[in-house]
Every structure is written in structure tokens, then in C-alpha cells.
């Protein structure tokens, strides 16, 4: 993919709407392109605005989480996607 083609994919990449080889190509490119990384950050900030709904976390969720903080560390699934 050319640079302009990759740029065209940055919006769908930021929304996790691209998969497979295309996703890998974008991620590979992001590792070396600050300009495109910045654009992805911007798109995610916009998405975060859209997701900033009023709803509070459910009652009891924090208590459940607290119990797990001191539990033996179980390795979470490795997830090395850009920015996560």
C-alpha cells in the first residue's frame, strides 16, 4: 500500500474496523510514521468524545475489581496493537 492508501485507512483503523493483512500493514507503517500516528490519536480522541456517555459504572463493579487487584497475577492476553 502507498502512503496515501494507508492514510485513507487510518479512520477505520482507529475504530478497529479493519482486520487481517490490511491492519498489519497499517500497524507496520505506524511504527515509523509520526504523522500517521498523530492522526490515529486524533481519531481516537474524537471517538472518545462520542463514547463519553453519562452512564456511571454499575454498582458493585469496583468491589469486584478490587478483589482481583490482589489476586495472583494472571497474564492477560497479550495485545500489542498500536496504542492499546
Amino acid at each position: 500500500m502507498t502512503h496515501p492508501e494507508i492514510q485513507e485507512s487510518l479512520g477505520v483503523y482507529a475504530l478497529d474496523a479493519v482486520e487481517g493483512e490490511e491492519r498489519r500493514i497499517v500497524e507496520h507503517h505506524l511504527a515509523t510514521c509520526p504523522e500517521c500516528r498523530f492522526e490515529v490519536v486524533e481519531h481516537r480522541e474524537v471517538a472518545a468524545r462520542l463514547a463519553s456517555v453519562t452512564s456511571a459504572g454499575p454498582v458493585g463493579l469496583w468491589t469486584a475489581l478490587q478483589r482481583r487487584l490482589t489476586a495472583p497475577c494472571i497474564l492477560l492476553e497479550d495485545d500489542d496493537r498500536e496504542g492499546r
Partner: protein, 191 residues
């Protein structure tokens, strides 16, 4: 809630988490747990799974706070991006076939839901709504389906009977237009 803690910047809370300070994580949950849960619930339509996503996102922050880089955006967008990625992974995985079938059934029946009907945090509501109104439906709908529906752009293209390249382009230009509008209203980035 500790008043001093509630005034600390997100980056200070990350420092606290790095030092295993549980109240710092509690404050992160208080600030951002609601939107993270809301996004996961929006995508998964399953309260139990959404709670699991919130726990996973915060546990990961607790165990790997160094993965948050303030130079790459706000803490909220970092947490939401993680929650979004995990939610779409879940909904696309074979193990959640039943969830997907329910979702597809919902989509086929879906007529009413739209971003404009969501209730935003009070301070944001009017500005976000106004910014969304600057988008054409042909840009807004693909963003809704991709972000809140958890669909890939190829799936969105099929759902909207529109070429894949066009959907990609509309999502990008739509996000840019929203960014411009939100910036004009002094709303970017998320704090």
C-alpha cells in the same frame, strides 16, 4: 471520595498506580469507568460481558501502567480504545457466535438508534450534538456502525450497499470533520 485525589491530573493518577496506590485506580474508575462500561455495553449488549471488559481494562492499567503514554492521547481515549478493541474481538470471535447472531438480528431490526439520541455528559451534550449535526448522514452512519456496532468497514460497506473505499473515506473525513467541530467548541482532547 478523597477531595485532593479527585483534583489530581490523570497523569498523576498513573504515577500513583505505578506505585501500587489503590485509591488512584479507584479515582480512574470513578472518572472513566462509566464511559468505558457504556461503550462495551453499547457494542456487546450484554451487561456481564461489559463488566468483564471494564475489569480487564482497569486490571491491565493496574498491572501495566507504563503502557499508557500521555504523549499519545488522553487516559480516557486510551481506556476506551482498549475496551473497544477487546469488545470487537469478543463480538467477532467464534466463541461469541450467539452474541453475534443476536447482534445481527438486532441490526436487521434496528431502525431507531442513532448517536443523536445518546445522552452525553452534561457539559458535552450540546456541543457533541451540534458537531454531529455538521456531518452528513452518509458520514455519520458508517461511523456509528463501525464504532458502536463493532462492524468492520467491509461489513459496513455491505450493510449500506456502498463501495468499501467510499466507506473508508467517509469514516475518515467524518472523523476529521467532527474533530474540527469539537476543536472549535474547545472540546478536544478528552481530559
Amino acid at each position: 471520595m478523597n477531595e485532593t485525589l479527585s483534583r489530581r491530573a490523570d497523569t498523576d493518577l498513573i504515577d500513583g498506580i505505578t506505585q501500587r496506590d489503590e485509591p488512584s485506580l479507584a479515582e480512574v474508575y470513578r472518572r472513566h469507568g462509566g464511559p468505558v462500561y457504556g461503550l462495551a455495553l453499547r457494542i456487546l449488549r450484554n451487561p456481564d460481558l461489559a463488566e468483564e471488559i471494564v475489569q480487564e481494562v482497569l486490571l491491565r492499567l493496574w498491572r501495566e501502567p507504563h503502557k499508557f503514554d500521555a504523549g499519545r492521547g488522553s487516559l480516557r481515549s486510551f481506556l476506551l480504545a482498549h475496551a473497544h478493541g477487546r469488545s470487537v474481538d469478543l463480538i467477532r470471535s467464534e466463541s461469541s457466535r450467539r452474541t453475534r447472531e443476536e447482534r445481527d438480528a438486532r441490526l436487521s431490526a434496528e431502525t431507531g438508534w442513532s448517536l443523536e439520541e445518546e445522552v452525553w455528559e452534561m457539559a458535552l451534550a450540546d456541543h457533541v450534538r451540534t458537531a454531529l449535526q455538521e456531518l452528513e448522514e452518509i458520514e455519520r452512519r458508517p461511523i456509528e456502525l463501525a464504532y458502536f456496532g463493532g462492524f468492520t468497514y467491509r461489513q459496513v460497506a455491505r450493510l449500506l450497499d456502498t463501495p468499501e473505499g467510499t466507506i473508508k473515506s467517509r469514516i475518515r473525513t467524518g472523523l476529521k470533520r467532527l474533530n474540527g467541530a469539537l476543536t472549535r467548541y474547545g472540546l478536544a482532547p478528552v481530559s
